[in-house]
Amino acid sequence: MPPDIPTDSGFRASDLLSLPSSERRVLQWLMRQGAGSLREVADHFQLMDEDAESILLALEKQGYIFAAAGNGPKSYRPRFGSSRPAGAPSIDIWSKLTG
C-alpha cells in the first residue's frame, strides 16, 4: 500500500468517502453549485442555521471549503486538492467499503 499523500489543503474526491454524510452532502452540493452561502445551504438542506453553520465550519477547518471574500454574505467554495498525478485514490478506499 503506497503511503498517503499528505493533503495540506483541499480535498480529493476519495476524501468524500471518509466524511460524515452531513458534511459530504454539503460539499457535494457545493461542487455542483460552484459556491453557496450559509443561507442557501440551510435552505437547500432544510437545516437550522446553527447546524448549517457548524457543517460549513467543520468543512472549512478541514480545508475542504473556503469563504470567498466580497461584499454581502460569505460565499463558500470547494477547495480541491492541488494538482497531483492522475490515478489511484489518495486514501485506502477499500477499507471504506462495507460490502
Binding site: 474526491a13 468517502l17 480541491f80 494538482s83 492522475a86 490515478g87 478506499i93 471504506k96 467499503l97
Partner: protein, 254 residues
C-alpha cells in the same frame, strides 16, 4: 440546471464509449442539448465514433486542464452525425481527449487540477446551455471516476456477463451508494444467449438492486461497424437500437 450523466464500467472494453456516443446522439435527436466529455484521458477514443479526427481538433480537454483555453474552446460541434435529424434548439458537442502521446504522458506525470475539471463541467453546462452532460469515464476506480460519480445526477454502469465484471461492478455500486448518486442504472452489454436475456436482467437486478435498462447482445453488426459510426443512427431498425433508445428515454426521464 442540466443533468450530469456519467457512463462508467469497472473494466475496459465493455462498450462505454459506444454507449455514450449512442445515448448522446439519441438524446440530441430528441431535441436535447447534449455535451460529451472524454475524461478517459489515459485512453481517449470517443471522438472516433463522431468521425472527429485528431488533426481537426486544435484543443482537447487536456489544453483546458492546463489553462491553455476555455472549456468551450475545446467543445466541437459533432451534430453532423445526425445528418440533419436534429430538432431546432438541440445540439451535440464533444470535448475530446488529446491524442498526442506527450500530452497523455504529461497528465500521467504531472496530474491536473481536479477543481478545474469540476468547474469545467459546470461552465460547459452553463455556457452551452446543456440539458445533458455525458461523461465518458476511465474504467476502474480512480480519483476522476470518484469525482464524476460525486457530481452526477445519473450514473450508468455498463457490464458484461463476466465474473470479473460482476465483482468489479459491486465495488462501483457500493461507491455510488456511499456518494448517494440519485439515479443509478445498469446496462448489460455483450451478452451471448438471447434466450437468457430476461433471466440475466433479473439476476443482475436482484444481485445489485439496481434497475437494468437493457441487455445488448454481443453483436457482429456492432463489431463490424468497429466504432466507425454511431450504431443506432446507422441501424435505426436494429434490436440493439431499440435497447439504446429505451435507455436514453429512461435517462432523460430520471
Amino acid at each position: 440546471m442540466g443533468k450530469i450523466v456519467s457512463i462508467h464500467s469497472f473494466r475496459g472494453g465493455t462498450g462505454k464509449s459506444n454507449v455514450t456516443a449512442n445515448l448522446a446522439a439519441l438524446l440530441a435527436r430528441q431535441g436535447k442539448r447534449v455535451g460529451i466529455v472524454d475524461t478517459d484521458i489515459q485512453s481517449p477514443g470517443i471522438h472516433v465514433l463522431f468521425n472527429l479526427s485528431p488533426e481537426r481538433f486544435r484543443y482537447a480537454l487536456n489544453d483546458y486542464l492546463w489553462g491553455k483555453c476555455r472549456i468551450e474552446d475545446a467543445a466541437y460541434d459533432v451534430s453532423g452525425v445526425l445528418q440533419g435529424q436534429c430538432p431546432r434548439g438541440s445540439c451535440l458537442y464533444l470535448i475530446p481527449g488529446s491524442m498526442r502521446t506527450g500530452e497523455i504522458t504529461r497528465i500521467l506525470r504531472d496530474g491536473y487540477d481536479v477543481g478545474l475539471l469540476n468547474s469545467g463541467f459546470q461552465e460547459l453546462m452553463e455556457r452551452l446551455d446543456l440539458t445533458h452532460l455525458l461523461i465518458d469515464t476511465h474504467p476502474g476506480v480512480n480519483e476522476e471516476t470518484l469525482l464524476s460519480i460525486a457530481i452526477s445526477d445519473v450514473l450508468l454502469l455498463i457490464l458484461r456477463p463476466d465474473q470479473q465484471d460482476y465483482q468489479g461492478t459491486a465495488i462501483t455500486v457500493e461507491l455510488a451508494r456511499q456518494l448517494e448518486v440519485e439515479n443509478l442504472f445498469m446496462l448489460i452489454n455483450k451478452a451471448i444467449n438471447p434466450q437468457d436475456f430476461a433471466a440475466l436482467k433479473q439476476r443482475v437486478e436482484s444481485t445489485y438492486h439496481v434497475p437494468v435498462l437493457g441487455v445488448m447482445p454481443l453483436s457482429g453488426d456492432v463489431a463490424i461497424l468497429g466504432s466507425g459510426g454511431i450504431f443506432s443512427l446507422v441501424n435505426p431498425e436494429h434490436p440493439i437500437t431499440a435497447v439504446l433508445e429505451f435507455a436514453a428515454q429512461q435517462i432523460d426521464a430520471a
